[in-house]
């Protein structure tokens, strides 16, 4: 079975600074990878996903993640964060035709 580890539970960051959220997974077969974001008191929203093709995927609001098969990682980055990026971020992995497994989440707090 696959599993997901998010290496940081809390990441405080100043506005306009870069941020990286680390995600490692384990699986013996090919996987699909996702990052979801949860704003306070809301449900989860898909931020970006990797299914196949280019290992670098981008979201419309400036986040990017790179699939690294040799490192079994899918780290999320943003070069310059805004106050509105304060949220909890979840990495998730899916084996095709099998369930989606979520990491424990990383809380990002952006300070002015």
């Amino acid at each position: 079975a696959q599993s997901v580890t998010q290496l940081d539970s809390q990441v405080p960051v100043f506005e306009e600074a870069p941020v990286e959220l680390r995600c490692n997974y384990s699986s013996s077969v090919s996987v699909y990878l996702f990052w979801y974001v949860q704003y306070p008191n809301q449900g989860l929203q898909l931020l970006l996903k990797y299914l196949s093709g280019s290992t670098l995927v981008e979201s419309i609001n400036g986040f990017e993640a790179e699939f690294n098969k040799s490192q079994t990682s899918f780290h999320l980055r943003k070069p310059s964060v805004h106050i509105s990026d304060t949220a909890e971020y979840f990495c998730a992995v899916s084996v095709p035709l099998f369930k989606l497994s979520f990491g424990a989440g990383t809380t990002v707090t952006v300070r002015a």
Binding site: Q42, G43, L44, L46, K99
Partner: protein, 113 residues
């Protein structure tokens, strides 16, 4: 936003009482899922459905049952609520089995006293 609603949004109940949470979608997606969210655990799958009257267990299904009599509705029942079931419950929908994006509802906060 995908059309998913959950009801109730907040509920307080007592240990031993049955509780039913409702998920309603207007997207006609085939697949529906119930998750619970707890600090330090992320989201864990309780049950899922792959069609009307077709359901299966997830990783934390003990103490929970589900029903899906219509495409648009997926009910989660706590047969006899316990304090360990205090959590935030999310419903999700998708049009491909676990492969593509899942769309999440706003959640139900349940407190079992």
């Amino acid at each position: 936003d995908a059309g998913i609603t959950q009801s109730p949004r907040h509920k307080v109940t007592e240990t031993g009482t049955p509780v039913t949470l409702r998920c309603h979608q207007t997207e006609n997606h085939r697949y529906m899922y119930w998750y619970r969210q707890d600090p330090g655990h992320g989201l864990r799958l309780i049950h899922y459905s792959y069609g009307v009257k077709d359901t299966d267990k997830g990783e934390v299904s003990d103490g929970y049952s589900v029903s899906r009599s219509k495409t648009e509705d997926f009910l989660l029942t706590l047969e006899s609520a316990t304090s360990s079931q205090t959590s935030v419950y999310f419903c999700a929908i998708g049009d491909r089995f676990f492969q593509e994006t899942q769309y999440f509802g706003p959640g139900t906060r349940l407190l079992v006293l």
